[in-house]
C-alpha cells in the first residue's frame, strides 16, 4: 500500500518535472550534430518560467474558445499522464478499458486546440489546424492496432497490464510483431508530437508549420501552458513507446525508476538524431508515411492474433 503511494508520488513528480528536459536533450543533440554548443539542457524550463511572467495579448477576434484551448490541452494531457505506466511501475490510475480513454483524451485536447486556432480567424492558423486534423485522424488507427497487439500479448485490458507485461522474453517470442509495432509507433510518436519529418518546431516559415502555427496567437502564460503541455505530450507518448522499444526491468523498484529516466533520455537522444539527419517531408508525403505506419501496426496485429 505505502509502496504504491510512494510510486504514485514519484510518478506524478516525474510527470511534472521531467517533460521539458526531453526538449532540452533533443535541442542539445541537434546542436551537437550541427557543431554548436547549443542551449543548456534546462533552457526549456527557463523559457516556460519566463513566459509565465510575461503579459498577454489577446486578439480582438477571439472568444472564450481561444482561452479554453490551452486549458483543455493541458488538462487532458495531465490526465493521460496518470493513465500511462512509467517503466516497470503500474500507473496511479488504472482500470479495464483505460486505453480507450487514453486515446480519446488526446482527441479532446486536439479538438480544443484546433478550435482555439480557428478562433483567431488567421488563415495560417486555419492551415495548421486543417493539417493537424487530417494527420491525427490518420494516426488514430495505428494506436488502436498497437493497443490490440499489446492486449492480445498480455491478455490485459488496461494500459498498465499491457505495457508492463512487455519484457525480453516476450520480445524473444514475438519479435517480428513487436518490431513492426516499434516502427509504426515511432512514426506516430513523431507525427503526434509534430517533430521532423512531419513538422519542424523551429522553422521560421508559418506556411509550413503544423503545431507551432496553431498557437501563433497565444502569448504569455497561455503560451507557457501550451509549451508545457506539448512537452508533457511528448513525455506521455514517449513513455508508451519506451515500453515497447526498451523494456528494461531490474526487479528493484528504485532502480526501475532510474532505468525509466535513462530510457526516456535515450528516446530524446534518438529523436534528436532523427531530427538532425532528416529533412522535413513534403506535405503530400506525410499521409503516405502515416498510412505506412498503420500498415506496419496492422501486420503486427495480424501476426499475434492469427
Amino acid at each position: 500500500m505505502t509502496n504504491s503511494i510512494i510510486n504514485s508520488i514519484i510518478h506524478i513528480f516525474l510527470a511534472i518535472a521531467m517533460p521539458p528536459l526531453l526538449l532540452g536533450v533533443i535541442g542539445k543533440t541537434k546542436a551537437a550534430f550541427a557543431g554548436r554548443v547549443g542551449a543548456p539542457f534546462l533552457q526549456p524550463y527557463y523559457d516556460i518560467l519566463r513566459l509565465l511572467h510575461k503579459g498577454s495579448v489577446f486578439s480582438t477576434t477571439t472568444s472564450w474558445v481561444f482561452r479554453a484551448g490551452p486549458i483543455v490541452a493541458m488538462a487532458t494531457t495531465a490526465v493521460a499522464a496518470l493513465l500511462i505506466p512509467f517503466g516497470a511501475h503500474p500507473s496511479p490510475i488504472s482500470f479495464d478499458g483505460d486505453m480507450i480513454l487514453y486515446a480519446y483524451l488526446f482527441a479532446l485536447g486536439r479538438f480544443f486546440t484546433m478550435a482555439a486556432a480557428l478562433d483567431t480567424g488567421s488563415s495560417f492558423e486555419g492551415m495548421g489546424s486543417a493539417r493537424e486534423a487530417t494527420y491525427s485522424c490518420l494516426a488514430e488507427p495505428t494506436l488502436f492496432f498497437a493497443l490490440i497487439t499489446l492486449s492480445r500479448l498480455s491478455g490485459s485490458y488496461n494500459l498498465s497490464g499491457m505495457l508492463v507485461n512487455i519484457n525480453f522474453s516476450v520480445w524473444m517470442h514475438t519479435s517480428a510483431a513487436l518490431l513492426l509495432l516499434v516502427g509504426g509507433m515511432f512514426i506516430v510518436l513523431l507525427a503526434e508530437n509534430c517533430r521532423i519529418p512531419f513538422d519542424d518546431p523551429n522553422t521560421h516559415l508559418e506556411l509550413t508549420m503544423i503545431h507551432e502555427v496553431m498557437v501563433l496567437d497565444h502569448s504569455g502564460p497561455a503560451f507557457a501552458i501550451i509549451q508545457y503541455a506539448a512537452a508533457l505530450k511528448l513525455f506521455v507518448l514517449g513513455a508508451f513507446f519506451v515500453h515497447l522499444a526498451l523494456p528494461y526491468s531490474s526487479g528493484n523498484p528504485l532502480l526501475d525508476w532510474g532505468l525509466f529516466i535513462i530510457s526516456m533520455l535515450e528516446l530524446a537522444l534518438v529523436i534528436g538524431i532523427v531530427e538532425s539527419v532528416m529533412a522535413r517531408l513534403r506535405l503530400i508525403r506525410i499521409p503516405q508515411l502515416l498510412v505506412a505506419a498503420t500498415i506496419l501496426a496492422a501486420f503486427s496485429t495480424l501476426l499475434v492474433i492469427r
Binding site: T60, A75, I100, Y104, Y157
Partner: protein, 665 residues
Amino acid sequence: MHSFLQGAFDPALVALLAALVIGCAGIPGLFLQKPGPGQILSTVATMLAALAGVPSALMLLFSHTTTTWSLEWGLPFGPCELVIDPLSAFFLLPVFLVSAAGSLFAVGYWPAAEHRATERGLTFFYGLLASSMAILLMARNGVFFIMVWEVMALSAYFLLVTEHEREEVRRAGIVYLIATHTGTAALFVYFSLLAAQTGSFMLPAAGSLSALSPYASVLVLAAFIGFGAKAGIMPLHVWLPSAHANAPSHVSAVMSGVMLKMGLYGIFRTLTFFHDPPLLWGAVLTVCGITSALLGIAFAVAQRDLKRLLACSSIENIGIITTGLGVALLGVSSHNTPLVYLGMAGALLHILNHSFFKPLLFLGSGAIIHATGTREMNLMGGLGKGMPRTALLFMVGSVAICGIPPLNGFVSEFLLYFGFFSQLKANSLLYLVFLAPLLALVGGLAVIAFTKLYSSVFLGTSRSSAAAHPHEAGVSMLAPMAFFALLCLLIGVVPQLALSLVSPAIATFYPALASSTVSAEYGAILGKLSLAGVLLLTAAVVVTLLWRWRLGRAPVSSAPTWGCGYQRGTARMQYGGTAFSELAVSVFNGIMRQRVERPLLTGLFPCVARCSDVPTETLLERIIVPLFSLAGVSFAFLRRMQHGLMHVYMMYIFATLFILMLWAN
C-alpha cells in the same frame, strides 16, 4: 391483462394517454381563427404529456413489467394488441423528450404570428408524428403496425415539405416519399411472410421462431430493407441528407433524433422473435453498420451545408448503433453473454445519446439559421460573439457527437470498443477486434467534420453581411438546447446511471442476461470512467485557476490577430469550411467526392467568374436517379390509367372491391 378501469393509475396507461394527447395537441389550433393560441396550447399540452410520459416510461422500464391491452376492432386481422414491454418503454423515452423539447423550440423558431400559412399544419402534423411513433412502439398487430407506420411516414412528409414553395424542398420531399414507400413495400412482404409463418398477424413472442427455417432469412432480409430504409443504413440512406436538411429544424431534430430510431426499433423487435440466429445475420449487420459509419462521416466532412453535415453524421451514428447490434447478435449466436451485453448496451445507449446530442445540434442549427438566414457554412463565421449561449451549447453537442470524454457519446463508444477488445481473450470471433481501428478512424473523421462545422459557424469573423449581426436565440429556443446539453453532461459524468437504464431493455432481447452479473461488472468499470471524467474536469478547473492567477500579475492587452507581417487581413482570407476539409478530402479521395464547378476561362481578359466545390452524392446521382428514370420510362404506359376521369376511378374502386369479395369467399 389489464382492463381500463383497473389500470387507472397504471404507468402504461399514462404513457398511452400521453401519446394520444400529443397526437391531438395540434387539433384545436386548426379551428382557431387567431394565430398563436393554438401553438401555445399545443406546446403546453405536449410538454405536460411528456412530463407524465417520461416518468411512466421510466417506471415501466425499471419494474420489468409488460402491460398488454387487447382491442377488438372488427377487422379481419385479429385483435389490435397494444403492449408495452421494457424495450418499448426504453424507446418511448426519446419520443417524449425530443418531441416536447422540439415543440417548445417551435414557439421561438416558427412563431405563428410570422408563419400564418404554415404554422397550423406544421403543429398538427408534428403532434401526429410524435404520437404515431409512440403508438408504433406499442403496436403488436402487424396490420396496425403498418397503419401507424404509414401515419408516421406521411406526417413526416408533410412536415418536411412545409416550405414547399422552394424547389429544393419539393425535390427532397419526393425522394423521401419514394424511399419511405419502397421501405413500406418491403414491410408488406415482411408482415405477410410473418403472418404466413405464425398463422396470425400478431407479432410473435420473443424467441418463438426458429432461425433455421428457410423463410427466416427472407423475413429478416425484408425487415432489414424495410426498417433499414427508415433508419438510413447504407446503402438505403439516399433520402436522408436532403430530407433532414430541408425540414424545419425542430422537425429535423425529431426526424433524426427519434424517427430514425423507429427503423432501428423494428430491426431490434424482429431479431427478438428468433432463437439461435445464425452468425451470418450478425456479420451482415456489423459490416453494414461499420460501412455506414465510415462512409456517413466521410460524406459529412465534405459538406458545406450546415444541416446536411448533421444529416450525414446521423448516417454515421446509425451505423455505429447497427454495428453494436450486429456485435450483440454475433454474441447471441456464439452464446457469449458479455459480448451480447456490451454490444447491446453500446447500441441502446448510443440510441439514447444520439437522441440527445443530435436534437441539440439540429435545434442549434435552427437558432443559427434563424439568426443568419442561410445554411451555407462558408457564409457564416464569428457567430459566437453575437450568440454566445447558443455557441456554448453547440460546443457541448459537437464534443458529445465526436464521442469525446467527458460527454455521453464517449460512454457508448467505450462500451462498443470494450466489446471488440473482449474477444481477444476468448479466442473466438477474434476478427471483431478489427472494428476498433475502424471506429477510431470514424472518431477521427468526426473530429474533422465537427471542428469544421463549429469553427466555420461560430469562430473567427463573419464572412458575409448576412451573418454579421446575428441575434441570440430566445429563451424558448435556448431552454430545450440547454436541457439536452445537461443530459449529455449527466450521462457523460455518471455513466452508471445510463447503464441501469439500458439493462432492462437488454434483458428483453436476451433473457439469459437478467440473471447474469455482467451488468454489475461493467457498471463498476463505468464507475471508474466517471471518476476519470471528474478528474478531467478538476484538472481543467485547476489549470484555469493557475492561469487566472498568472494573468492577474501581468498586463493584458488586446490587438488584432497576428497576420504574419501582412497588415490588411480581411474576413475573406480566413480559412473557410471547405478549405479546412480540403486536405482530408484529398487524402480520402474516392470515398469523399467533390465536384469543382468553374466556368471555362477564355481570352486575355476573362470576366468575373465563380468557382465552387460541390460535394456529390454518388449513389443517388449515378445509380438511383438513372434507375428510377428508366423505371419511369418503362412504366409510362401505366399513366394512361391515371387520366383524372372521376367515373373511371370509381369503376377501379368497385372492381377492386369485387375482386376482394371474390377472394374473401
